[in-house]
């Protein structure tokens, strides 16, 4: 069953008719030719399909396009519209990937994570001692690699390039 939706992708509006079963990931890759988000597991377990959906990171493989009519999507490709994003630069400088398949999802996730930590949104690592909740205010990612590992845990890397991703993200968080 087809429905018309409008998706704003990396700053450009697209009007398209989609089957109700079409996920945002398939709309991006198969209909709009934007292969930056990757199809890894297609079940919300690997994070390779991560995009910014109305400013927040989300698994595009579990979001139905029909339910997100009018939304704004930013992919890793869109982050580089005006030259490389600092997180992309840091991933290159730190050799924070091997095969690269998970990298666009990792980068979108890291960009969102930096904003979440700056806004004081907690992670499981923020709750580090039993008792009262953690203090309010920004979370210092540069000083706490456990926060980075926890907050990036929804993005898997089969090459296990994690060891270089953490310092790449720390560097951006520190700058």
């Amino acid at each position: 069953m087809e429905t018309e939706v409008t998706l704003r992708v990396d700053g450009v509006d697209h009007r398209l008719a989609v089957d109700t079963r079409t996920t945002l990931l398939d709309a991006l890759r198969e209909r709009l030719g934007n292969t930056s988000p990757k199809k890894g597991c297609d079940h919300g377990q690997c994070g390779a399909c991560t995009v910014l959906l109305d400013g927040q990171r989300a698994n595009s493989c579990l979001a139905l396009a029909v339910a997100h009519d009018g939304c704004e999507i930013v992919t890793a490709a869109g982050l580089a519209a005006d030259g490389l994003h600092p997180v992309q630069r840091a991933f290159i400088d730190h050799d924070a990937f091997q095969c690269g398949y998970c990298t666009p999802g990792q980068i979108v996730s890291a960009v969102a994570m930096l904003a979440e930590a700056a806004a004081g949104r907690p992670s499981a690592a923020t709750f580090d001692t039993p008792g009262d909740g953690p203090p309010d205010g920004p979370v210092d990612l540069a000083a706490d690699p456990d926060e980075i590992r926890e907050r990036m845990s929804g993005n898997l890397c089969r090459c296990a390039a994690y060891a270089n991703m953490v310092p790449a993200i720390q560097e951006v968080a520190d700058s």
Partner: protein, 329 residues
């Protein structure tokens, strides 16, 4: 995925009416569990009624000092909310211990409570499963059951309820507000989910089309000191083998009040009332905690691969309460 129709509800009553007329229809919230189950052919709705525009996305203080959480609030927003973080840290902590930020941004509070079991056989349509297809049998009882229930299971189903949030809400005595074809009602969170018995296809007591509109948290001043301990196979991004949500109120060296709920052990969040009753009125000692935890798990029955969960749950209760009490004994 099978074809389905899509409709966007404009108000709660309209959503309920749409579902009431369609026995195979389902509500769509964040979709993080439902869409996955549709891909797996486990869920086969012929109509999705999108309720994200009709359930409240606000968190507000109630006159009695409690808090009302709209069912449409995202899991991420719930965990970040100052009222929740300060008054019920166990809830915020339980939420961020589950899934990933990408999933929590999409997932709603109402949907979190209604997510289906992650039993491998329930999710695999090539195997018998009484929950998925009543009467076909339970593959888990003689299969891989390491993750499954040790309390309250039945010969027909040993699935566990996967939500971390539900465990924390059970400990906090939360109430779920619903709207159904026959009007609204309030359901204590501890009575929302059910034990499998002979009807494991029903995860909870909601009627078809009954919509969760909000979750109410009663005031519980001592919950400002609370903790969620989740034990799993990896450090992050995995379902609980065992989890404990706890809060404790200690005065003059004695337990004035305590709340304990267990996750990962049953078909519902397991409120540990037996242990709570044994702990009230006495000092917080390791010995008393062990006795209370042992009483709570006394009726536990292991499957072939999950006997480890029984001592794990006992020890998790003891450790969590010892840690919580450490500064106040």
């Amino acid at each position: 995925m099978r074809p389905f129709r899509y409709a966007r509800a404009t108000d709660p009553a309209g959503a309920v009416a749409l579902l009431a007329g369609s026995p195979q229809a389902a509500y769509l919230g964040g979709g993080t569990n439902l869409v996955d189950l549709m891909k797996l052919d486990v869920a086969r709705p012929d109509l999705l009624v999108d309720i994200r525009g009709v359930t409240s996305r606000s968190i507000e203080e109630l006159p009695d000092g409690g808090v009302r959480v709209g069912a449409g609030v995202s899991n991420s927003d719930l965990a970040a909310d100052p009222l929740i973080r300060h008054r019920y840290p166990v809830i915020a902590q339980a939420v961020v211990s589950g899934a990933s930020t990408q999933l929590r941004n999409l997932a709603t509070v109402g949907g979190n409570l209604l997510q289906r079991t992650r039993c491998l056989y329930f999710q695999d349509v090539t195997t018998p499963c009484n929950k998925r297809e009543p009467g076909t049998g339970c593959s888990a009882i003689d299969g891989h059951n390491r993750d499954l229930a040790v309390l309250g299971a039945s010969p027909d189903c040993i699935a566990t309820q996967p939500s971390d949030l539900a465990v924390a809400l059970a400990a906090m005595d939360a109430t779920v507000q619903t709207l159904g074809p026959d009007g609204g009602r309030n359901i204590p969170l501890t009575e929302l989910h059910r034990l499998p018995g002979a009807e494991p296809q029903a995860d909870n007591v909601l009627a078809h089309g009954e919509l969760i509109t909000a979750v109410d948290l009663p005031p519980l001043p001592f919950a400002t000191r609370s903790w969620y301990r989740k034990i799993r196979d990896r450090a992050s991004y995995a379902f609980a083998l065992v989890s404990v949500a706890a809060a404790i109120d200690i005065a003059d060296g004695r337990v004035r009040d305590v709340r304990i709920a267990l996750g990962g052990v049953a078909h519902k969040p397991w409120r540990a009332t037996r242990a709570e009753d044994l702990l009230r009125g006495g000092p917080v000692t390791e010995e008393r905690l062990h006795r209370a935890a042992a009483a709570e798990l006394a009726d536990a029955r292991p499957q072939s691969d999950n006997a480890f969960k029984i001592p794990l749950a006992r020890n998790a209760v003891v450790r969590t309460l010892l840690d919580l009490a450490a500064d106040t004994r």
